[in-house]
Amino acid sequence: MTDQAQLLPGTLDLLILRAVSLGPLHGYGVLLRIGQISGNALLIEQGALYPGLFRLVRQGLLKASWGTSENNRRAKFYELTTAGRKRLREETDSWNRLATAIGSALAPQPEEV
């Protein structure tokens, strides 16, 4: 628990899109999926998920419908729209570029050795 990383601002939306891209999920499921794919390395307060979900629905990147969960609870399920899929691709690319750049900038340089 203690070595969990704080989320960078703006990255929660990307994580939600990524989690939902693997199949329709309800809110709690999104949280579990993020934990699963990040190896539980990220600290997300549970409630913080919902404003993000609603924002993405309003932007037309997710669509939501009521359904029943695996243990028979009524829950709202989210899935990606076409626009959401496209946005995920773009955001992933730009994140990778950023990560590479930051990574190489922070890597030990030859003259430092």
Binding site: H26, G27, Y28, G29, E45, Q46, G47, A48, Y50, P51, G52, F54, R55, R58, Q59, G60, S69, N71, R73, R74, A75, K76
Partner: protein
């Protein structure tokens, strides 16, 4: 994102508000249940699992709120929520709400009134097509608006910048439509007047430049709609009818549309007459005299693409040509452009200055009101700190709380603003139908238009945000933990708080207003009791126009002498004099004066300008103007004897150095005549009450060409009404067709005093508003500080404090602030009053009476405002208070 979809989502969210909210709640709850299920599976019991799920979820209220915002459609909803809440809060404290609304209504109302007067008189343009390009021409260093007719012709024909130049003059005539001869105000205009203004007739036709063919060649009349309506009962058959104007036949050509009333803002003509008929209208024709600048105004539309600067340089090149070609008549001929509505800078300048000053003062009122409301709001916020803390503790964001506070402030400001503007509309309507002077159809057309409403709205909103912003820091700093823990007992700070500062600012502003209004009132009082160079009490003026009655040439002096003799015989009349135009009657006639040594009199080498009066021998007696040296005129100073004059002290000093050396001396006029000084009289007021001493001379009316105006000054101690009746019958016996306007000299002076009267009234009203605001401000502050400290005061009383000490503890601070604010305001007010001196005659702040008055007023205000809080502090019952806690 698609706009339409967004709007639909917002609208849908708004209208299905509860459904959306319910759905969201359900989803959040389902999350908690799912989490609790998982935790239960990991071995916790159900109750513990649900508790853990809620803790892990984080601030439930906060996320609910944020989710709501993320769903969109939140703004309106929040706004409606805030509005409801604000209304509920205000209903709970009606005293506060009423005080706040009234304060703002006063301030916004004052601003709306002043702005709409400014809007109507200065900003609004003439009601003619393409008014933006319409300019009047001003001349010379003093920016005089009047010109001579020959100069006008040269300007009209030689300029390349205007789409035609027209000119006009205001005159009074006698109109006889067949039954009842009556006086009327008219504009004598050039033939191209209507064409230059691009207006179309409502009925019949206008006259044009082509109708002019020399003196008295165009006996035509065009009626204004209003005059047609009131004097011809909308009779469409008037076109082509012949009426008699000063006994001369004129043909009615047409009627102007209702919205066109000439280009002067404050004076509407009854009809228009071609200026070439000046002799028939005014009795004399000065259109051929280049030195006689009797044309009131010359104006025209700038050609498309010509800028003001280009037009001015074009006019100035004509001016240079005029100076060179007519050195005898045309002195300095440089030109400026101005708007035609206010007769140029002569009237427009001081008016603009005064209205700007008034607008500033009204702005100060609004600021003071905002300071007042700001401190009220700050006090309220302090009282509500517990509520704010509770809301913060429950997860509300500070932004949300601030939004509510601003909603409340803007709500108050809008309600106050609408009350203010409704009140001002009533007031302005009253002003619009008001005719300030009897005998002259003077208008103050100040009905508000869309611009006024817009400005009032903007001011209301701005002030709402201004005073709403005062408690912001207080709210941002609220520490919910501290407040909830320690309760609402406010700490009594010894520091200077924002509230104290606001109160000082407010009192200072109010003191400025009180000071300036007292300075103005005192100035008016003085100007009413100063030496005018004549004595208006116990004197009657009988104004006649002999030309209107058909007299001309040598008949005029003969008739004037007969009138004087007849009036002198009226019982009770002490003395009678005649003057062509009484002093302080809408400006004065001035003429160039040359020293006796000037060989070549021309405008450029004049010694100075002097006001000139043509009088009969009895005038000084009747007017009670004091003779300082020499003799007055006699009936022997006529055409056959040497030209003589009496001059005033200022004139004597200017040209001869002193009164004694002036006696028997000579000076010259433009036409080269030498005039001998036979007497010197005291200085007086001639053009306006605020003028500096002007040189003036009094000539024998018998030695001048017959004068148009004939005003008898009748001195008598008889009752004015009886005397007026006696005078009317006397004059009717002389000539039944002679129109005579009889009033006391004081009544006639109303015109000269109008400006300072209006200035004083408006400043007085603003001063009173300032005083009221400072009362509410001090009262609010004192009452609040007493109520906050009741418990402390109770303890003091219980411990044996005396009345004096209780009062000092309760109100010492308020009184200190009051004294400090008043002193600051007094100093500022004295500085600001210099501006007033230019409008209000003898307005000087360095007057012990004014200073004492201001101090007294502020003291009284303080006493009134702190009276109730002081009573409350003194009646503190320690037992009651201590038991309550």
């Amino acid at each position: 994102m698609k706009l339409l979809a967004w709007i639909r989502s917002v609208a849908a969210k708004f209208f299905r508000r509860s459904q959306v909210a319910d759905e969201m709640e359900a989803e959040l709850r389902s999350h908690l249940l799912l989490r609790a299920d998982d935790l239960e599976r990991s071995g916790l019991d159900r109750a513990e699992a649900e508790r853990r799920a809620r803790i892990e979820f984080g601030g439930y209220e906060r996320y609910r709120e944020e989710s709501h915002e993320a769903l969109g459609g939140n703004f309106l909803e929040t706004f409606v929520q805030d509005l409801r809440f604000s209304l509920r809060m205000l209903r709970k404290s009606p005293g506060f709400a009423i005080a706040a609304v009234l304060t703002l209504a006063l301030a916004i109302g004052a601003n709306a009134v002043v702005f709409s007067v400014m809007n109507a008189l200065i900003l609004r343009q003439a009601n003619v097509p393409q008014a933006d390009s319409l300019y009047a021409i001003e001349r010379g260093r003093d920016k005089a608006i009047n010109h001579s007719y020959p100069d006008y012709l040269d300007l009209r024909d030689r300029n390349r910048s205007f789409d035609g130049l027209a000119a006009y003059n205001v005159a009074a005539v006698g109109l006889d439509t067949g039954d009842n001869p009556s006086g009327a105000w008219i504009f004598e205009v050039t033939g191209n007047y209507f064409d230059v203004l691009r207006v179309q007739p409502y009925l019949g036709r206008y006259f044009h430049g082509s109708d002019e063919g020399g003196p008295n060649s165009a006996p035509y009349i065009v009626l204004t709609y209003a005059f047609w309506h009131s004097h011809f009962q909308d009779d469409r058959g008037v076109v082509g009818r012949t009426v008699r104007l000063n006994k001369h036949p004129f043909i009615i050509l047409g009627v102007a549309p209702p919205e066109f009333k000439g280009t002067l803002t404050f004076l509407f003509p009854d009809f228009w007459v071609p200026i070439v008929n000046q002799e028939q209208v005014e009795g004399l024709n000065v259109l051929n005299q280049r030195g006689n600048r009797g044309i009131l105004m010359v104006f025209g539309h700038l050609k498309a693409g010509v800028t003001r600067v280009q037009a001015i340089s074009d006019l100035n090149s004509i001016g240079a040509w005029l100076e060179k070609t007519y050195p005898k008549d045309d002195g300095r001929m440089n030109f400026y452009l101005t708007r035609p509505g206010l007769a140029g800078d002569w009237l427009g300048g001081p008016m603009q200055g005064f209205l700007t000053g008034l607008m500033l003062l009204a702005g100060l009122i609004l600021l003071a009101a905002c300071a007042n409301l700001g401190s009220l709001f700050a006090a309220r916020a302090a009282d509500r700190s517990r509520e704010v803390a509770l809301r913060l503790a429950l997860g509300s964001s500070r932004r949300r709380i601030l939004r509510q506070v601003f909603t409340e402030a803007v709500l108050i400001s809008l309600v106050g603003g609408s009350v203010g503007i409704s009140a001002s509309v009533f007031l302005l309507h009253g002003l619009s139908v008001w005719r300030p002077l009897s005998g002259v159809d003077l208008h103050v057309p100040v009905n508000p238009d869309a611009k006024v409403y817009l400005v009032a709205l903007a001011l209301a909103l701005a002030s709402g945000f201004l005073f709403g912003a005062v408690p912001v820091r207080q709210i941002l700093r609220t520490n919910p933990y501290e407040v909830v823990k320690s309760g609402s007992t406010a700490k009594i700070g010894r520091r200077i708080s924002v509230r104290d500062l606001l109160l000082v600012v407010q009192i200072a502003l109010c003191a400025v207003l009180v000071t300036s209004s007292m300075v103005a009132v005192r100035g008016l009082w003085r100007s009413l009791h100063s030496n005018f160079g004549f004595e208006p009490r116990n004197a009657m003026l009988v104004g006649t126009n002999l030309f209107m009655a058909g007299y001309g040439g040598d008949q005029v002096p003969a008739m004037q002498k007969r009138m004087i003799d007849a009036v002198e015989a009226v019982p009770g009349v002490e003395s009678v004099g005649l003057v062509d135009r009484p002093p302080l009657y809408y400006g004065a006639n001035a003429t160039n004066i040359y020293t006796d040594k000037t060989a070549d009199p021309r405008p450029s080498n004049a010694a100075f300008e002097a006001v000139v009066y043509n009088i009969t021998p009895g005038y000084f007696d009747a007017a009670q103007t004091r003779l300082l040296a020499g003799r007055t005129l006699s009936w022997h100073d006529d055409k056959n004897s040497p030209r003589v004059a009496l001059i005033n002290r200022e004139f004597a000093g200017k040209i001869f150095g002193s009164v004694t050396s002036a006696m028997g001396g000579y000076f010259k006029r433009l036409d080269g005549t030498r005039i001998q000084v036979v007497g010197v009289v005291e200085d007086g007021k001639y053009g306006s009450l605020t003028e500096n001493p002007q040189p003036a001379m009094f000539l024998s009316i018998l030695q001048q060409s017959p004068s148009n105006g004939t005003v008898l000054v009748v001195r008598s101690k008889r009752d004015p009404q009886q005397l007026a009746a006696a005078l009317t019958s006397t004059l009717r016996n002389l000539d039944a067709g002679l129109p005579a306007d009889i009033q006391t000299w004081n009544q006639e002076l109303d015109g000269a005093l109008l400006a300072s009267r209006m200035a004083t009234v408006s400043l007085g009203v603003l001063g009173m508003m300032g005083a009221m605001l400072s009362i509410t401000g001090i009262f609010g502050m004192a009452a609040y500080s007493v109520s906050k400290r009741l418990r402390e005061l109770g303890i003091r009383v219980a411990l044996g404090a005396q009345r004096k000490e209780v009062l000092q503890a309760a109100l010492g601070r308020a009184v200190k602030l009051l004294a400090f604010g008043s002193a600051a305001g007094l100093v500022l007010g004295i500085l600001a009053s210099r501006v007033l001196a230019s409008i209000v005659y003898q307005a000087t702040p360095r007057d012990p009476l004014v200073l004492a008055g201001v101090v007294l007023v502020m003291l009284l205000l303080g006493l009134v405002a702190t009276w109730i809080p002081a009573q409350r502090a003194l009646s503190v019952d320690p037992m009651m208070l201590l038991r309550e806690e």
